[in-house]
């Protein structure tokens, strides 16, 4: 699993997002350099998901700017180099595991889509269940498939929103190994985490959001562990 093209960096300045009267993100300004693996911590509602969705080009910021790669705005070409895992599975329940992967492989114009799909099904350990409907899968199996879907097109930037959700201990180890390999291949990673020390070990940098603002960044000297330690409210 290698990265296609140069890894993408990400830079935001004075980024703000509000929903009605609620400020989800306040004046975020930071840069993630190509090849970095950043773990993002914070309470529920601290703005992690909102930030990741803006970075994926799914949602527009209210003000401020966000650059991915050298582009000013997130164009379709850039969007197609991003691997995205969201809260929800983003899978069709009425399609089989194989059909789901094939659909996204075809959409993304991957030439050997069938080979690529088979390869990922093997890696996720879902090869035997490839012809079962996703509806019949457990949460952990769906999460593995979701991650496989995000890696299909060998993206240059991974945006993972709590990728460990629903995974059991072997699943977490598999995910950590996968992330490590992707990172070593040069892909930029930005993932929000809730605990899960094994996944945090992949990170080369950590940031913490509180109420939509950047509260801590390991670049300013703090250790990754202490940045990721979310204080009890």
């Amino acid at each position: 699993m290698t990265s296609a093209g140069a890894p993408l960096g990400l830079r935001c300045s004075n980024l703000e997002k509000r929903f009605g009267n609620f400020m989800a993100l306040r004046r975020l300004s930071f840069e993630i350099r190509p090849g970095e693996a950043v773990a993002l911590a914070g309470h529920n509602g601290s703005g992690k998901t909102t930030f990741l969705r803006i970075a994926a080009g799914l949602s527009r910021p209210t003000s401020g700017s966000l650059h991915v790669g050298s582009e000013d705005i997130i164009t379709t070409a850039v969007r197609m180099r991003i691997g995205f895992v969201a809260h929800q599975t983003m899978l069709y329940d009425e399609l089989t595991a194989e059909e789901n992967l094939l659909l996204f492989a075809r959409l993304q114009g991957i030439s050997a889509s069938a080979d690529r799909t088979a390869e990922l099904l093997r890696e996720t350990g879902l090869a035997e269940r490839r012809c079962s409907l996703v509806r019949t899968f457990s949460r952990g199996m769906r999460q593995r498939l979701t991650i496989a879907r995000a890696l299909l097109h060998a993206p240059s930037l991974l945006l993972f929103d709590e990728p460990g959700t629903g995974l059991d201990a072997p699943g977490i180890s598999w995910l950590a190994a996968t992330l490590l390999r992707v990172r070593q291949a040069g892909c930029t990673i930005l993932m929000s985490l809730h605990g899960q020390a094994e996944l945090a070990a992949v990170a080369t940098r950590a940031m913490r959001l509180e109420a939509g603002s950047l509260a801590a960044d390991s670049l300013s000297g703090e250790s990754i562990e202490s940045v990721l330690r979310v204080k009890e409210r």
């Binding site: 509000r18 929903f19 009605g20 009267n21 400020m23």
Partner: protein, 224 residues
Amino acid sequence: MKKNLFALLVVLMLGWAAYASFFVAPTENTMGVIQRIFYLHMPSAIVAFCAFLVTFVANLLYVFRRQQRWDWLAVSAAEVGLAYITVVLITGPIWAHPVWGIWWTWDARLTSTFVLWLLYISYLLLRTLIEDPHRRALASAVYGIFAFLDVPLVHMSIRWWRTQHPQPVLMGGPGTGLDSRMKIVLLYSFIALLSLMIFLVRQRYELEAMRGQADVLRREAEAA
């Protein structure tokens, strides 16, 4: 000050238009006094259409520029336009009853006006059902564009369908034309009603803008 002067001007124009339509315009030969409602009915319909045109342009500008003021303008003009259309739909039957002997007929113009009214009711209804201001502005702008594009189609289909519609009085052939005094009064009422529309849209826009600013202040208070 400027606003008050404009308001005064609008009131004077409306007063003059009302006076003129009752005392300056001659009484129509066949329909009699009731025909004078025409000076309110017909210009209102045109002014309503002007208001919806403003909504359409504001919708387009919002989609491409994403500035909230275009959304404010769109909703203001749509509400005022709807008020005018309502006037048209009320004065129509009042005029029709003594002349045609019925309150309502599914005649082409009446029916298309009614569909127009429904379209913009739906537009305003949609706006009440989306919470987030940006999402509301964007979704309703696209619906507003759809609605406006539908207007000529509605009009054409209903016209083809009900071809027995009475000839328009203004643009009809020779002999059906209006008395020159009638035309002048019609022009007066049109200008007066148009000025009122502009005044109302402005007032409504300011209200909407204040609402938007109140939101910003509330947000800042929360942030502090």
